[in-house]
């Protein structure tokens, strides 16, 4: 398994898009920290970017890579290797490379400018999002054979997680405006890793006070150790579940 991961990583790290992505993040982070007079505010601006761009790049790049590697996957499958090993190696290689790009692009500036609990939370959350969206991309690609269709699906998935889901939440909130929705919202946030990540970081920032009663309810939950453990567990589940399902599907897939 290690061997394949190694070669996948070697391949991806040479990829121009990954290099460009790293440089883009690096420039963006540095310019944000230099433009904002206040580092905490810079972190907030960076958060918005992390929540939109990181999932988009992760899901798209992973999907395109898998589609472009279709023949390579065939070659690997014809070798004396377990299919699960191959698939998880591809996943691990993609996840590691993109996480590394994120860590260099955002992690280094954050460590230089805002090495605080909030900054570290944002880094961890960004790494989680990277891996989660690679896993989701793998699930999408294993389901759809056609490349164009598959990439369309991944873009739709990204749109769903970063926009449509929140629209649905808003709709629900107004539909059930007469009911206390705060506690239910904690549960609902578990269904979208982007929302969960955003809330985790916001609660670490002092803007959480702005969130009023809702913020207090969330703080009450996620502020405690068990709440934090549950949050991390949910994020881990967002990695494990798509990765596991996609590996199972790949195991039975006709190439």
């Amino acid at each position: 398994m290690k061997k394949i991961i190694k070669y996948v990583i070697i391949d991806i790290l040479r990829n121009k898009i990954v290099v460009a992505y790293t440089i883009f993040l690096l420039l963006l982070s540095f310019s944000i920290f230099n433009l904002e007079d206040n580092n905490a505010k810079g972190l907030l601006s960076l958060l918005n970017i992390v929540l939109i761009i990181v999932p988009l790049v992760s899901i798209l790049f992973a999907a395109i890579y898998v589609y472009n590697s279709a023949e390579f996957l065939e070659l690997l499958v014809s070798q004396p290797l377990k299919r699960k090993t191959i698939w998880l190696s591809i996943f691990a290689g993609l996840a590691f490379s993109l996480a590394l790009a994120f860590f260099i692009g955002v992690g280094i500036p954050v460590m230089l400018y805002e090495f605080s609990a909030t900054g570290i939370t944002m880094l961890i959350v960004g790494l989680f999002l990277t891996v989660i969206f690679v896993a989701i991309a793998l699930l999408a690609t294993v389901q759809t054979r056609d490349k164009a269709k598959g990439i369309g699906v991944t873009i739709l998935l990204w749109l769903y997680f970063s926009l449509l889901f929140d629209g649905l939440v808003l709709f629900l909130l107004f539909q059930f405006a007469d009911y206390p929705m705060e506690k239910i919202m904690i549960g609902i946030s578990a269904f979208n890793p982007i929302d969960l990540s955003r809330i985790l970081v916001l609660l670490k920032m002092d803007v959480s006070a702005l969130m009023g009663y809702t913020g207090a309810v969330f703080n009450d939950f996620f502020g405690k150790t068990y709440g934090m453990i549950i949050a991390v567990f949910v994020l881990a589940l967002w990695i494990a579940l798509p990765a596991w399902i996609s590996a199972r599907k790949f195991n039975r897939k006709d190439l």
């Binding site: 394949i4 070697i10 391949d11 990829n15 023949e71 070659l75 014809s78 004396p80």
Partner: protein, 241 residues
């Protein structure tokens, strides 16, 4: 060596393999022949475990291949289109395969690498290579580990005549070494001096599996291409009647 028993495979409505049973033995060089979409590639993929058949079973060296993967250590496979990670060099691809197979005890057969002069291109990135060169890499990889079974899917397509000749010679040499070789090809003329048996498939069905001698005797044709053509004509006539 390879026994396929009543293999069925369906893709949606399309019946890709319809009750195919074949027995292939050591030291044979078998040509898989049939029109486009006759199920040749699907059959090969079934043997390689890339496609899981709906019913029936395949054994390689007496072992059922369902849910197995180690048996593929005995198989060298050359795909129709070989594509490799864009940013890897030829050297890295070879190293990776050696790494994966990790066979220290068996000698590595770098014969083709030398003959195709791939050792001079080790630092070339895969995405910069022509289709022909990639085919050469695929061929070299298939033979690299001295496998007991060689499965070659359209091996000469895209190769220049010189390279095709090198490959043919290699196939003949390996046949002499007692290996089982499965070839699919459209270009029947080049199979003439290679194959010992012919499997003819059409619309997912196995039409016949004969030794080349029998085929020549039955059809009265010396050339494989002519022999096959007369078979096709015959089956066509039977259908019409």
């Amino acid at each position: 060596m390879i026994i396929a028993n009543n293999i069925n495979k369906q893709f949606g409505k399309l019946k890709a393999l319809d009750n195919v049973s074949v027995t292939c033995n050591k030291g044979e060089c078998i040509a898989l022949i049939g029109p486009n979409g006759s199920g040749k590639t699907t059959f090969i993929k079934c043997i390689l475990g890339m496609v899981v058949c709906n019913s029936g079973f395949i054994t390689v060296n007496g072992k059922n291949i369902l849910h197995e993967w180690q048996y593929r250590a005995d198989i060298g496979y050359m795909p129709q289109i070989g594509r490799y990670p864009d940013n890897m060099t030829i050297g890295q691809v070879l190293d990776m395969m050696k790494d994966i197979r990790n066979k220290k005890n068996t000698a590595i057969d770098e014969d083709l690498i030398k003959k195709f002069e791939l050792d001079k291109l080790l630092d070339k990135r895969m995405r910069t290579l022509s289709g022909g060169t990639r085919q050469k890499v695929s061929a070299a990889l298939a033979f690299l580990f001295n496998p007991a079974v060689l499965i070659l899917d359209e091996p000469t397509a895209g190769l220049d005549p010189v390279a095709a000749e090198i490959l043919k010679d290699k196939i003949i040499a390996e046949k002499a070494n007692g290996k089982l070789i499965l070839i699919t090809s459209h270009i029947l003329s080049e199979l003439d001096d290679l194959v010992t048996q012919v499997i003819y498939m059409q619309e997912g069905k196995l039409i016949f599996h004969k030794s080349i001698g029998d085929l020549r005797a039955d059809t009265g044709q010396e050339k494989l291409s002519k022999a096959i053509a007369s078979v096709m004509l015959k089956t066509g006539n039977e259908k019409n009647n």
